[in-house]
Subunit: 198 residues, 2 copies
């Protein structure tokens, strides 16, 4: 039954990424997941419950991606570059999550009920980046002495800004990645010798 729930939640992520939160209809999620609408109501009570579970699932999926990345990297600097660039990936699954969070961020202004989960996802993501900054300051791959929490807030805001521009069609994904690499190098005091620019 856990698998069936995951399939439904992955379908909900896809629907939100294609139509926005306002366009999310329970019927369409059920159809996409290949299950009966009644099963969705059984698991999630109502549309609001489905949205809440979907954001939780998206948060887990994003955290898992970062955990998978963390295992392979050597220096803190390399880990940060990899983590941040992963937010500007094109494969459908990564892109879906970018669209989802961008949509939730914009919607939270109009719908305060989204804010707790957005804050949770944002804090978790910032904490992982701050850990990597700390690691890079320890291993010498990051020259900047600014507090890890401040650098993490700056870097994640920059990623959000670039991601929003990419998704809105203002800049290409390649340009967004180039700008992100520039800002990371500059803000962290990383030299080209340490990390090759993607």
């Amino acid at each position: 039954m856990a698998d069936r729930k995951h399939i439904i939640l992955d379908a909900a992520i896809s629907v939100i990424a294609r139509k926005g939160l306002g366009g999310l209809r329970v019927e369409e999620v059920a159809e996409r997941a290949g299950v009966a609408v009644s099963l969705l109501y059984y698991h999630f009570d109502n549309r609001r419950g489905l949205v809440r579970a979907t954001l939780e699932h998206a948060n887990e999926r994003a955290a898992q991606t970062i955990k998978d990345l963390s295992a392979d990297q050597r220096t803190g600097a390399e880990l940060i570059i990899t983590m941040l660039l992963a937010e500007l990936e094109d494969p459908a699954q990564a892109r879906e999550l970018s669209v989802l969070w961008s949509e939730v961020m914009a919607s939270a202004f109009f719908d305060p009920s989204l804010r707790d989960q957005l804050a949770e996802a944002s804090d978790r993501w910032a904490a992982l980046v701050a850990d990597a900054v700390w690691r890079g300051q320890e291993d010498g791959s990051i020259g900047a002495l600014t507090a890890p929490a401040d650098l993490a807030a700056l870097l994640t805001s920059m990623v959000d800004g670039l991601s929003a521009r990419w998704l809105a069609g203002l800049i290409t994904r390649e340009r967004a990645r180039e700008l992100l690499a520039m800002s990371v190098m500059s803000m962290l005091g990383i030299h080209h010798a340490t990390v090759s620019r993607p």
Copy 2:
């Protein structure tokens, strides 16, 4: 008649800032502006025409604000700090424009018809920032040698990211301003002696 049009467009900005683009109803704009609905259709043909004229008007209003600021500043560095911080202002009028552009940016992914006007506003804004960077590199107030266009893209993306977080309730406006000042100093190579931190 030009004044009446401005009143309608200011009312449309307020409605979008309170309810989002999806929540914009011609009737509500007319009521807020204190005019007959038929007058809106007379001037703007339909809802889409009203949205288009509103974004144009918002773009003009933002450009005028920056022009007013530009006259008073001395160095390029001071001008940039002032221009960027103006995006994180609380007075209703400034905040409305922040919400509007944030909403248009997020909506452009789902509604490509918004992209041309978004690109126009974004290019205009980036060009003004790039001009100020060039000015600061000339007058010595900006130490960074990065191309003005790249720095302008980075700084405006950072403002967007911080503004989105502020509007979504993730960080306070004071924290957003503090982070913005930090990133501007770091990316432009500005020293504290040159510009006092706000």
